[in-house]
């Protein structure tokens, strides 16, 4: 096995390079069946992290993980971002937290990635001050049978479950540190 290239922090100045218009809109506003997942990214003092960047990757509603290209589709004339084509589901979102450390994702509910598996949205967290990114998961429902959730104590488990608000809207806060610290994952 080759040793990996180490990670370094994303720093504070990625804002003109990585975020793109519509990065959090996997489907356009008003799309039938769309859900909103939103929340804050918080530090160990409970303060919002305005310079966090979140990436999301998920199965399509049928559980498919092929992920269409075109999340960053470009206008060939101007080079600007043209938005997703609306044909095919890319499964990928990228959202920079706003000044309140808040983020919003508009997507379709993921399907089970394997027969009988509980669906989830995978999240990768980057931030100034964070030297190596972190992974977590947004589960939209909490039922028994998921091997990860079932391995956790109830209060740790709760950090991975999005809280339903009004119709089709879910709240999911990410706490990098502290008593209610979010569960972060290792894939070996």
């Amino acid at each position: 096995m080759r040793p990996p290239t180490p990670s370094q922090t994303i720093g504070p100045f990625y804002g003109y390079a990585l975020p793109f218009a519509g990065g959090g809109d996997l489907v356009p506003p008003g799309h039938p069946g769309a859900i909103i997942v939103h929340g804050a990214v918080l530090d160990g003092a409970g303060q919002p992290i305005p310079d966090a960047l979140l990436e999301f990757w998920q199965a399509d509603p049928a559980g498919g993980l092929t992920g269409a290209p075109g999340s960053m589709r470009r206008d060939p004339v101007t080079g600007s971002f043209a938005g997703r084509s609306g044909v095919g589901f890319t499964g990928f979102g990228r959202v920079a937290a706003d000044a309140d450390g808040h983020w919003t994702l508009r997507t379709l509910p993921p399907g089970p990635a394997a027969p009988g598996a509980l669906p989830y949205i995978s999240v990768c967290v980057f931030a100034r001050g964070l030297l190596h990114h972190l992974y977590t998961r947004v589960y939209l429902e909490d039922t028994a049978g998921d091997p990860l959730l079932d391995s956790l104590d109830p209060d740790r488990r709760a950090t991975l479950i999005a809280r339903p608000e009004q119709d089709g809207t879910y709240r999911f806060d990410i706490r990098l540190q502290g008593g209610e610290e979010t569960v972060f994952l290792d894939f070996g």
């Binding site: 990996p4 390079a17 990757w57 075109g70 589709r73 030297l131 994952l185």
Partner: protein
């Protein structure tokens, strides 16, 4: 009543902390601790890390059907001009023209093909084209400092740019970042995601920088430093640097091949 901002700590305080951590890490390695391949998330000399790292251990994921796959990018997601940062404006940027190239591999040494590489960097004076960068060095109207490309069939990426300048930051008094280019990479699996920084050989600022030294293992730090390659330099045009990248993390393709 107004509060006085805290006096910035001198470099010597940061140096002493970094030296103590390095000594402890070297002792642990000599005692047989596993090699530290990645930076420490908890690295107090980098002050912004103090409240931004988890205190609990990561939880091993029992399955990763979703994360062992990843997003796909294609020819619609990049334009041809994206990989040449010197041609994004009407005029030529100031600075030392460079070509940076290398291969992206997985941990088995196989090329990572057709995947998105994104870069961003300061201009030759050490200033980012970002509103939050208040370093009183000149902006360059002919340089934005962002690039994108897809890796080719051998996993290769190539960017043309200018050498970024070192720049000050406020971690402590007289804190300066060594010159670097920020890199963002995707593999075939979301688990292989990488954001890092490429440095230039022989930078005198390496010993003073807590971000670089958050990687406590000397060999691991060296993996972030590009090699000057004279064969990549073009006569009367540009200097060449080579930097190969190995993505960490398992992928579905590794698993399917039984590795």
């Amino acid at each position: 009543m107004s509060t006085t901002p805290p006096t910035p700590e001198p470099q010597a305080v940061i140096d002493a902390e970094m030296a103590r951590i390095r000594t402890e890490a070297e002792k642990a390695a000599a005692d047989g601790a596993p090699e530290e391949l990645q930076p420490r998330r908890d690295y107090p000399p980098y002050r912004s890390s103090v409240l931004r790292h988890p205190e609990r251990p990561l939880v091993a994921a029992p399955e990763a059907f979703t994360e062992l796959r990843g997003p796909v990018f294609g020819v619609t997601d990049v334009t041809e001009l994206d990989s040449d940062l010197t041609r994004q404006h009407h005029g030529e940027p100031l600075g030392e023209r460079i070509v940076v190239t290398g291969r992206v591999l997985d941990r088995d040494g196989r090329p990572v093909r057709g995947q998105l590489v994104e870069i961003w960097q300061a201009n030759a004076s050490g200033r980012y084209a970002h509103k939050r960068d208040q370093h009183p060095a000149p902006l360059d109207p002919n340089f934005t400092g962002t690039g994108r490309c897809l890796t080719d069939d051998e996993g290769r990426y190539t960017f043309t740019s200018i050498k970024p300048g070192a720049y000050p930051w406020r971690n402590h008094l007289n804190a300066w970042r060594p010159a670097h280019i920020h890199f963002s990479l995707f593999g075939t699996a979301f688990t292989q995601r990488l954001i890092t920084q490429m440095y230039f050989p022989n930078d005198p600022l390496f010993p003073y920088d807590p971000i670089f030294n958050s990687i406590t293992d000397e060999r691991a730090r060296q993996r972030l430093i590009a090699t000057y390659d004279h064969d990549l330099s073009s006569p009367e045009w540009s200097l060449g640097y080579r930097w190969d990248i190995v993505l960490d993390g398992p992928s579905a393709t590794c698993m399917e091949e039984g590795r």
